[in-house]
């Protein structure tokens, strides 16, 4: 599955670095406790150690900054595309891009498609489509997460978050969930990302009620 940030593989490297550091730390601790060999460590070792840690964490920070900047830089471009191309719902078209608004309220989602139709708790996209989502929270702070495309955002009331993702290639139903506690119905606040090839999904027309 293609990651929105394109970092599924890179993330594994970061993960391995983290595991390596942890195992090194724990291993050294046990070694220090149980080995009969005693060692009065000179200061130079600590300086080298701090240097290595510094290099690793700065490498991680540089990598993250590069990826996230790229991801953010794509948002204005996609916004422009979306407004220029006058996207219409055309599920038969091969190059399908769409801009969707997601309204988060207690305790559900409403998605407004470009043609103005609204669907409740289901976002329908074509496989592999690049989807731009404007996320708005109506009442309290909500979270918006689609695990299948590795994207999370937290959204405060009054502000709009723009995120984009590439839909999974395999048609199916993927979970969308709220990530911030938003009241006693928080655990029910789920929606589905419906990846479908050519069937036009059932769309509920109507207001935001």
């Amino acid at each position: 599955m293609q990651n929105a940030l394109g970092l599924l593989d890179d993330q594994n490297i970061l993960f391995a670095v983290m595991l390596g550091l942890g195992l090194l730390g724990i291993g050294t601790m046990f070694f220090a406790m149980f080995t009969p060999r005693r060692w009065h460590i000179p200061y130079s070792v600590e300086i080298v150690f701090a240097g290595i840690i510094f290099t690793i964490v700065m490498g991680g920070a540089y990598y993250s900054q590069k990826t996230v900047s790229q991801y953010w830089a794509d948002i204005p471009k996609m916004e422009e595309e979306a407004s220029n191309k006058k996207i219409t719902i055309d599920y038969k078209s091969d190059s399908f891009d769409t801009a969707v608004s997601a309204y988060l309220y207690q305790w559900g989602f409403i998605f407004i498609n470009p043609d103005g139709s609204a669907s409740r708790n289901a976002l329908s996209v074509k496989p592999g489509a690049r989807v731009l989502v404007h996320v708005l929270a109506n009442d309290v702070i909500h979270g918006f997460q689609i695990p299948a495309v590795h994207i999370t955002t937290e959204v405060d009331p009054k502000s709009v978050r723009s995120i984009w993702f590439r839909a999974p290639d395999k048609p199916g139903k993927y979970l969308i969930q709220c990530m911030d506690y938003c009241g006693i119905g928080h655990h029910q606040m789920k929606a589905w990302l419906v990846v479908t090839d050519n069937v036009v999904p059932k769309i509920e027309n109507g207001g935001l009620g």
Partner: protein
């Protein structure tokens, strides 16, 4: 090296039955640092029990998907009280109180300074906890603003007052720590670099408390006035802004994680050389780590709601940068502890000593919880599976339950003979350790696993995905095991305080069996 602090066995560390020495009335009013410390620690342990019952209630509910025992409302009450009680009424008071206990004698001065502030802090905390229990809030322990202003019941104003009071309590609790460190400087006339590391922990920990805690009170006041419709600062529906809340509350909320951490690190710096029977690896390295942690600790709080699209992107990256940097001083602390263990032989007495086992467990867990800070801080990974999944509770439970929980047990077992003049049951304490160590580890690992599979936080019910069901099941089992371990601890303390074996000499004087060589610095155990 000049200014190197030498571990010295203070003459004052003799077992003593303080419960016999002081009457109950004297205990309430005495300004003896030890009495203040005991009061704070006992209150904190009661709160640990209460918070633990809340945790086990949640674990019982979450053991299987679906809603079986308690509904969403009582569940979130339990979450809220568990979080607030564990952090604000157990971890922070326990850490500061244990530092009160050891500080005067470690620094060689008569008593902690400004003991009145510690008294007031204790009273404020008691009132605050009582108000919290009465109001039974359901806005989670992070009390994010528009929600926490809306779920109000009639009693909810008490929760806001409770937040104000706990801020005041922490501010007051920091004053004795700072002034005692300054009293050391005044009385000894030595240079700052010669101050024992416990003193450095008191200084930086006290500054953390006094600088950050007022912000919590201000947040509480604004929430109260917003609730009473006097102001509308946090409520977007009436012209306020939730972002103001996030920035203000996390300005307290990030340093808050250092409030229990720093004092317990300070206590660890006192206990470790005593348990090993020799000097620490480096005094200077500890000072550097404390100072760097202090300055960086105030510059990272925005990472709690990163990436923040309403601030400019370079600011997000600035906070990512400082968050990454903070790994360095934390790992210098761990480096120092491991190097201290490595530089000399660890005697059989030390290995068998219960406080040493808990210290080793705490260091193990701080490594487990610390290294994943590397992933948490990176925005690219954070926006994938970390933000508000179970990964986050895993991180702070490794730190709070793993490090602070294990360390507080180490401290309590360590101080037990000095408080009661008796020894606890070795077998029960050993059993406690061997339940908690795997229990906490499994619990934390299961939370990491659930986080990696995108299990959301703060839910009473979850989808019956196989990876979530098995993760929650083993998490609950480990949670109950930890509860059982705490029960054993409780029994051990209650029995040993009356009928434990009396100890006449300092039980934690450990022989240093390292053969003398020209590499190792001479150990000075005698008072200088």
């Amino acid at each position: 090296m000049a200014g190197e602090y030498k571990y010295q066995e203070s003459l004052d560390w003799q077992p003593e039955d303080l419960f016999e020495k002081y009457t109950f009335k004297e205990m309430l009013t005495s300004s003896d640092a030890r009495i203040l410390g005991i009061k704070g620690m006992l209150l904190a342990l009661i709160m640990l029990g209460v918070g633990g019952i809340m945790a086990l209630t949640m674990r019982l509910e979450l053991m299987e998907p679906g809603i079986q025992f308690i509904g969403p409302k009582p569940y979130i009450n339990a979450v809220t009280i568990h979080g607030l009680i564990m952090v604000l009424a157990y971890a922070v008071p326990f850490a500061t109180s244990s530092l009160y206990f050891i500080l005067p004698r470690t620094l060689g001065i008569r008593n902690i300074q400004n003991a009145w502030a510690a008294h007031l802090s204790f009273v404020a905390l008691l009132i605050s906890a009582a108000l919290l229990f009465i109001s039974r809030p359901d806005f989670t322990w992070a009390f994010y603003a528009p929600l926490s202003l809306r779920v109000a019941t009639d009693m909810i104003w008490m929760a806001y007052v409770s937040i104000i009071l706990v801020g005041i309590s922490e501010f007051l609790g920091g004053i004795p720590l700072i002034s005692t460190a300054f009293a050391w400087k005044r009385e000894s006339g030595k240079r700052w670099m010669e101050m024992p590391l416990a003193g450095w922990g008191a200084l930086t920990g006290g500054l953390f408390l006094t600088i950050s805690a007022p912000m919590l009170s201000i947040v509480g006041v604004i929430m109260l006035t917003d609730f009473l419709q006097i102001t509308a600062i946090y409520d977007p529906a009436r012209g306020g802004d939730a972002l103001t809340f996030l920035f203000m509350s996390w300005f307290y909320g990030h340093p808050a994680v250092y409030l229990p951490l720093i004092p317990l690190i300070a206590v660890l710096y006192h206990m470790l050389p005593k348990m090993l029977g020799r000097n620490l690896w480096s005094h200077t390295s500890g000072i550097v780590a404390f100072t760097a942690l202090f300055f960086l600790g105030f510059g990272v709080w925005v990472h709690h709601f990163q990436p923040n699209f309403t601030v400019h992107s370079w600011l997000n990256f600035f906070y990512q940068f400082t968050t990454m940097l903070i790994i360095i001083p934390s790992s210098l602390h761990v480096f120092n502890w491991v190097a201290s263990m490595w530089q000399g032989r660890i005697s059989e007495e030390t290995r068998r000593a219960i406080p040493f086992k808990f210290i080793a467990g705490a260091i193990f867990m701080i490594i487990v919880g610390g290294v994943n800070g590397f992933l948490n801080g990176l925005i690219s990974v954070d926006t994938d599976f970390i933000h508000n999944t179970y990964w986050l509770p895993a991180h702070f439970h490794a730190m709070f339950l793993g490090f602070i929980g294990m360390m507080s047990m180490a401290v309590f077992y360590f101080l037990f003979p000095y408080i009661t003049g008796r020894m606890f049951s070795y077998r029960l304490a050993n059993l406690h350790f061997w339940i908690w160590m795997p229990g906490i580890f499994v619990q934390v690992m299961m939370m990491f696993w659930l986080g990696m599979t995108y299990h959301p936080r703060w839910v009473v019910d979850y989808l019956p995905l196989p990876e979530w069901v098995s993760g929650q099941f083993w998490l609950s089992i480990a949670g109950f095991a930890n509860g059982f371990g705490f029960l054993i601890f409780l029994i051990n303390v209650l029995v040993s305080v009356r009928s434990g074996e009396p100890v006449s000499r300092d039980p934690w004087v450990m022989p240093d069996t390292t053969p003398a060589s020209k590499d190792s610095a001479p150990v000075t155990n005698a008072a200088e």
